[in-house]
């Protein structure tokens, strides 16, 4: 197990290196410069600033010095927020995003799983059709459309929740709901497919021949076998929410990293873009690793080995 984890850690770092490299050069291809909005600056002033930040050097030199810096744990300072270190910028904002993402998963996945399971058990009835419609709507309506609708109905019309901003738990309700719809729909769809498969399998037939009741069959045999594959999608779904929440965070004016990411790209804030890319990549890879570990714990057929 330890050997396996070490190996995974190595691959994680390798992947991270590749991601950093690709993002760095792609980012440099973006049109504009960090000083786009500073029309008042003279050419010589710009040159001074460029020199100060090392932006006057060839791109490959900038790349090497960036790699050197992050090896020393230095992610640079932000361009847009005067002289704030990127590490501070991210760490002060990541909490809000994590909280939203976590809440959205906690709300969305269990409800989605339940809906999917009900759809599978009541296959080809109106119940199934209803659940399928719910999941198709949930997948096809973008979260930011829902965000605005929620703001309008629950905020403006009904005054149940604050329309925007960040503060106590009540502020998180609407953005959480907006974000929860997609994991809800995804897991409902996945669970239905998976469970229909399981319900048609030979071992469910054997369970029937054992004289188990329908509830007994579902509870003892069908659920567990359909839930295990669901695990594989929950992890990436969670990360998807974190990255997908950029627009939603903007709509609700939530000081999270999604909102920060959008701003950094718009202002060519190179160090912040890089920092956030690294954060998102690490999150995705760690989640995948955790998923694999959990999978090996709950599925007896899967054991982690050093091979492969």
């Amino acid at each position: 197990m330890a050997k396996y984890l070490l190996k995974r850690l190595f691959y994680l770092l390798l992947t991270l290196f590749i991601v950093i490299t690709i993002t760095f050069f792609l980012m440099k291809l973006l049109p504009g410069t960090p000083l786009n909005n500073q029309a008042k600056l003279s050419k010589s002033q710009i040159a001074v600033i460029y020199q100060q930040y090392g932006l006057d050097k060839p791109v490959w030199q900038q790349y090497l010095s960036y790699l050197g810096n992050i090896l020393h744990g230095n992610f640079g300072t932000s361009f847009q927020f005067s002289d704030q270190p990127v590490s501070y910028l991210i760490s002060s904002r990541i909490g809000a995003s994590l909280q939203l993402g976590f809440q959205a998963i906690i709300v969305g996945v269990p409800i989605g799983t339940l809906i999917g399971a009900i759809g599978a058990v009541k296959k080809n009835t109106w119940v199934d059709t209803t659940t399928t419609i719910i999941s198709i709507l949930g997948i096809s309506i973008p979260s930011f459309v829902l965000a605005v609708l929620f703001q309008y109905f629950f905020g403006v019309k009904l005054h149940w929740f604050p329309i925007a901003n960040w503060g106590s738990f009540i502020f998180t309700v609407l953005p959480t709901l907006a974000l929860a719809v997609s994991p809800l729909a995804e897991s409902a769809r996945f669970m239905r497919t998976e469970m229909v498969d399981v319900m048609n399998s030979d071992y469910i037939e054997l369970a029937k021949a054992k004289g188990l009741t329908k509830i007994g069959i579902i509870y003892h045999h069908a659920l567990r076998n359909s839930l295990i594959p669901l695990l594989t999608v929950v992890g990436p779904l969670a990360v998807g929410i974190m990255t997908g929440s950029m627009v939603v965070e903007n709509i609700f004016s939530i000081p999270g990293i999604g909102e920060l990411f959008v701003k950094s790209v718009l202002t060519n804030d190179y160090p912040t873009i890089m920092g956030l890319t690294i954060v998102y990549s690490v999150m995705l890879m760690v989640v995948l690793l955790i998923t694999d570990i959990i999978y090996s714990l709950v599925d007896p057929r899967i054991r982690l080995t050093d091979k492969g």
Binding site: D202, L206, K210, G211, N225, D299
Partner: protein
């Protein structure tokens, strides 16, 4: 055996399937009895209705199946009239089933000990630790070595043959009156087949259960069955004691089946087969359904369905060839040879028995 009591009586069973193409008449007036302690083999091609018949007995017909007629009487009850609740109580306790593919019939994420114990816990309310002990005993009975260590293993840790032993253990843990074995050895290789068949025979004696053995493989039937029913196109066309079916078959379809069964002493130059395919059961043919594939078919076969003719008090066949008015037709060469060979063997056996007073049972 002949006077043994019937434990299951299937009478005039007719089952249709509603499909988009129309009504498929899968089972067309099937009747048979199962006696206590015997093994009845139901033989036939794919689609002949063997499995549908057993599904009906288990009360596990597909949703689009309609029982148009008939009764299945067990223990004074018509199983076809039982509610799903009542059938749940009958399954496993009175009638259990094992399936064709042991690789997929076990729950991949449940320990096998728990899977074997489950019917005991569900039906008899046995406490889990007691049920575990029973499961352990059953594992030993079906020949799983190191049962104590393996009780907590998962299905993927066992080979196909071992998994089928586990499935058998599950089926027999409640000592059912009837065991339905739906092609239990088809997915296994030949050496394992023999082991599983031996095991089933041994356990049958141990817990005195009756077996309905579904197969398309007459070779498997030979060593297993007391009686054989041959099914074709949703009907039973011939039934009788195993010896009667093997060595004195009367229905041309049975001849075809036996001819196409390779044996060790046939010259393996050429293996006969039955030409054509089974009829479309959406519109079953008038007359004998086998007639179009039957080189011995008479004119009457295309007009009227043959009734059962009695060959012996235990042996019946539905073919017009047995009508007194029908022309005398000799069965194929292979069948005749086999009849003679059997006669010789029987004589030898009787002689051997006289010599050393050993009962054949002992060698089993």
């Amino acid at each position: 055996m002949e006077n043994a009591k019937n434990i299951l009586e299937v009478r005039n069973l007719e089952i249709n399937f509603n499909t988009y193409a129309g009504t498929v008449r899968a089972i067309r007036n099937v009747s048979f009895d199962l006696r206590r302690g015997e093994t009845l083999a139901i033989v036939g091609e794919s689609g002949s209705g063997k499995s549908v018949t057993t599904r009906a007995i288990m009360g596990l017909l597909a949703n689009n199946a309609v029982v148009a007629n008939g009764t299945i009487e067990y223990d004074g009850k018509d199983l076809l009239k039982q509610s799903n609740r009542q059938m749940e109580k009958i399954r496993s306790v009175d009638i259990a089933e094992i399936f064709q593919d042991p690789m997929t019939s076990l729950d991949p994420t449940m320990k096998i000990g728990k899977q074997i114990a489950e019917p005991l816990i569900v039906h008899k309310g046995v406490k889990p630790d007691k049920a575990r002990e029973a499961a352990l005993k059953m594992m030993e009975a079906v020949g799983i070595t190191n049962a104590q260590e393996r009780i907590n293993d998962y299905p993927h840790q066992f080979s196909g043959g071992m998994r089928q032993r586990i499935v058998i253990a599950i089926a027999l843990i409640n000592h059912p009156d009837i065991l339905i074995a739906d092609e239990p050895t088809t997915a296994l290789d030949v050496t394992i087949q023999a082991q599983i068949l031996n095991l089933m025979r041994r356990l049958q004696n141990m817990i005195n259960t009756s077996i309905i053995f579904i197969t398309h493989d007459l070779g498997v039937v030979a060593g297993m069955a007391d009686r054989v029913a041959v099914m074709y196109a949703g009907k039973i066309v011939e039934y009788g004691k195993a010896d009667e079916i093997f060595y004195n078959p009367k229905h041309p379809y049975t001849w075809g089946l036996l001819e196409s069964m390779p044996t060790l002493d046939t010259d393996a130059e050429y293996l006969p087969s039955i030409p054509g395919t089974p009829p479309d059961l959406l519109n079953p043919p008038v007359g004998d359904a086998f007639a179009p594939r039957n080189k011995y078919a008479l004119e009457v076969d295309l007009k009227a369905e043959p009734p059962f003719f009695e060959v012996s008090p235990t042996h019946f066949a539905a073919t017009w060839l047995l009508d007194p008015r029908a022309p005398q037709i000799n069965p194929p060469e292979i069948i005749v040879q086999r009849q003679q060979k059997y006669e010789n063997e029987r004589q030898q056996l009787i002689n051997a028995d006289r010599l050393n007073h050993h009962s054949a049972e002992e060698d089993l």
